[in-house]
Symmetry: C3
Subunit: 398 residues, 3 copies
């Protein structure tokens, strides 16, 4: 086992990731290639320790604060697991139980909860133009608090999903792909189809497709974004994907055909999302308090949605992928035809066939989050990881 761990440390030693330290993780495209690889490597190293019953606890006390402005199960538990693994206790900021409604500023709240906070994980994905802005504000305010001597330590921010990106999801997806394909070096030229799929519920966040095209275009892959007309994602993120493909020697294509996307794909990621323009309009109406118009908009969106029930990941569609065996991926929960809804994103037989890989895909998230925290809080990661191995403290005395 120590051989594998040594290799991970050797890999880490060659990377330049010093800018992760005392920084935040908001968008994958803010980070260098080396920084992303450092996170993948540390995630693997932490998993290695835990799977060998060695505790990677680096904190003897400290809080990990979570702010969930939308419901969450898997991200909530992934964040809790990551914090706990490293020794932080999760304290949830339940805005309903706080005094925030009384007109307190974000700056004040951010500082007030952070006196002993090492990390703040935030999910805020409900309104276009809001989530990322809020996360940046919190990051800026706590950094200011640290600089001003108000906070003893600098709480690091981890984006647990915003309106633009969902880095803990897409990084887990990527680590899953790396392991499924036996290494990042095998991804060159592999075709991944990030495609829209029909779901009876309208209005799912855009952060996953955006995050996928913004990340997967960095590893030499052939990234295809497919959706019906009208389901465009943020053009800024498409621009990121285009530039990535150019810079890192990959490909980024945008099409309106699911068939074309699935054709010979090595990986398919069919998933429903809301049209960006409509979400932008909804945010605007919401801000203006025009709730009647929101209702009308939602009816229109549902009608528009219903026209694309043929965008589904069926067995027939799977047959046209590479050898009929593309890796099926999803951030979960999926809308499964005739299981969770009448007509949905994917056939039950496909979902069942890929259930174990799908669950494994999800299993990376606690380690990805832990790696982000680790690299943002630990000055000498290689040295500290070696120390943890040598300390050899049992996670469970059995």
């Amino acid at each position: 086992m120590n051989t594998n761990f040594k290799e991970l440390l050797a890999k880490l030693e060659k990377l330049d990731y010093k800018n992760l330290y005392h920084n935040d993780f908001l968008l994958t495209w803010d980070k260098t290639q080396d920084e992303l690889h450092a996170i993948f490597t540390v995630a693997d190293a932490l998993r290695h320790l835990r799977e060998n019953n060695i505790s990677p606890k680096i904190f003897d006390s400290g809080l990990g604060i979570s702010i969930f402005r939308d419901n969450s199960t898997r991200t909530r538990f992934s964040f809790a697991s990551a914090c706990n693994l490293l020794g932080l206790e999760v304290q949830d900021l339940d805005e309903a139980k706080s005094q925030i409604a009384r007109g307190e500023t974000v700056k004040e709240t951010a500082n007030m909860i952070s006196f002993m906070a090492d990390v703040i994980g935030i999910r805020d994905d409900m309104y276009i133009g809001k989530g990322h802005t809020y996360q940046k504000a919190v990051a800026e305010y706590v950094n200011e608090g640290y600089q001003d001597g108000v906070l003893e330590q600098r709480p690091t921010i981890v984006n647990l999903q915003c309106d633009i990106d969902h880095p803990t999801q897409t990084m887990s997806d990527m680590l899953h792909i790396i392991h499924e394909f036996g290494g990042v070096e095998n991804l060159k030229g592999k075709k991944i189809a990030m495609t829209w799929a029909y779901s009876p519920s309208y209005g799912k966040p855009l952060s996953v497709p955006q995050g996928i095209i913004g990340l997967m275009t960095r590893f030499g892959m052939d990234v295809v974004l497919a959706h019906p007309e009208g389901y465009e994602v943020m053009s800024e993120v498409e621009e990121v994907a285009r530039k990535n493909a150019e810079k890192y020697g990959g490909k980024f294509t945008k099409i309106n055909s699911m068939e074309e996307a699935f054709k010979d794909a090595d990986i398919v990621y069919p998933k429903s999302w809301a049209p960006f323009a409509a979400m932008e309009k909804r945010t605007q109406l919401y801000g203006e308090g025009k709730f009647d118009e929101i209702d009308i908009l939602e009816q229109e969106l549902l009608a528009q949605n219903a026209q694309h029930k043929d965008w589904a990941c069926t067995e027939e569609m799977m047959k046209i992928t590479k050898d009929g065996k593309a890796l099926y991926m999803h951030c979960l929960p999926a809308d499964i035809t005739r299981l969770s809804c009448e007509e949905g994103e994917v056939d039950e037989s496909i979902f069942d066939r890929y259930r174990i890989p799908l669950y494994k895909e999800a299993s990376y998230k606690p380690y990805i989050i832990a790696a982000m925290i680790f690299l943002q809080k630990v000055k000498n990661p290689v040295e500290t990881l070696q120390k943890l191995l040598d300390r050899n403290k049992a996670r469970l005395v059995r």
Copy 2:
């Protein structure tokens, strides 16, 4: 102090409880006599350590997940205390704040929350035929996840109350009895009256009376179940009690008279519960969405209930117990006449007289839960307990 502890380890060494390891605790009657005694012994050993300021923490990280589908104070705090004592952090799955409503399957949720979960405690006692089934499903799904390599460790399930049994309650009750009577060897022939008692609220769970007759019939006791006609418990559990009595040399009697039950009883456990048949009907109506009929049913049940106000644990009734001094027991909270309600399960003077033993009865629950977790997660319990004693880490540096 170490003498006492040595005796506990010696007792444990003689028991065969290897099947507790990597298993779940759902029903007491799934377990062998040795397995139950192992849990009592480890509960006492953990209590011994804590009372001598020695930390029995065996986990350096890990989550204890709680799922409460009904309100709870003492079980919630008992579970939290048990997890904390062993080093697990409690993470509550608040189904209202999760995405479960979106049609996610139990299998998926169970796996998604379990990547770093060592134990899952579940209370689901609201609907007949549901709770135990749900717990079994979660147990099966996480075990499957473990076998499939999705989960690094196998989360063990602890039944914190279902529609059939309430093992953490009844095992605490039993440990209380063992200590009150100076050892399990003194219980032979002791009469315990598990009797129905009137409470203005209708519909209390059946898990306590069922759990009591299913457990107490295994220690050579004379177990009497008494209730008005119409307040039958599940016949399957009566069958368990009957067979237990036969197998373990005790007695199980079912009668319709509280007086007869109290007569010469060494222990009385008077408590309200709902009629099984009615609860079954309510579950069915609920499933069919017939809420009007549920209202009618509840009115009928309240009327039926009101006919049995004479089923009360009064001072007069206590006089007919063994020397007028039977041990009064209750899972709490009790409905106390003229304190919590006009007419209730027990006279205030009796409750007051037994307040300290009642609180002590409750105090075993954290240790019983901790012992269940310990024995389900630790491969070599005797060795590990000895290690904890030798390690001698202060719970509180004072």
Copy 3:
């Protein structure tokens, strides 16, 4: 760094604070001067340890229970931080999710949640005559439980705000003042103006102004309480302030002019609060279920309130303070004119100028709470603090 720490231990050694041990912290005026200084000193010592990356964890397991009967952000996080720093896991008693509504007594609940509780923090500030009474009851009941052998350890109570006092706030305020003025010896004769200020919301708790006059009068300061007629605080607390001033060589004055209070003040603490008499009446109406009359009362109070918009901490008012540079204090969140409301307690420019000191003021609270817990649970504080320094366990392995 060890020099500073040595000085703190030397200071602590000279104080008599043995009565804090195994006691509760409900009101500052229940405590001796030495006891308060011991808390300030231990708060500084714990901060010193943490700021030098030395973990002051004294508990290897144990629960810190919080009961919040009113919303809270900063106190909730301060309590969580304090518990976590010392090694306790916070378990919140959410009364909505408990069985308490079923008529359970406070005595029973208090014991049932306390089997492994080392501290119980309570905020109950909504109704005059209720909060302190409730806290005293819980303290008495768990102490009784400990004496009766029901509880293995004695949970200590920390008042996180009641209807009478807010000691964790005012002690933090005081520690902030001590550090701002370079030591308690420099406070002699310093003028502090605790004044009412207008806020559009009516009905803020009286615990802060009461706590301030009850505490600040013990350090030789010239304490001025100013408010419009009708905004009297509890007369019992005014009496405490008067006696304190006499005993400790300070001054306590009560006036109806904000100008007079601000004149030459070294410290100003302008803050809205509700009139005591009105709050008493509201509590009475609430008890009688007269909700219509409560509505009428609230309308009257709002009308009365609106007459005093001139009670505001403006730049002009600040000019009349000592050198125009009084230390501006607030428990936060403040009602800031034209930021959080049309007309409020303070001008935005003032609040902005004092933002950093205000945040620092708040930053003492986790340490004050931790010091209270520490001194109430640790038998030999000097020895234990020295042990923590010598143990030199990293809070964060970096």
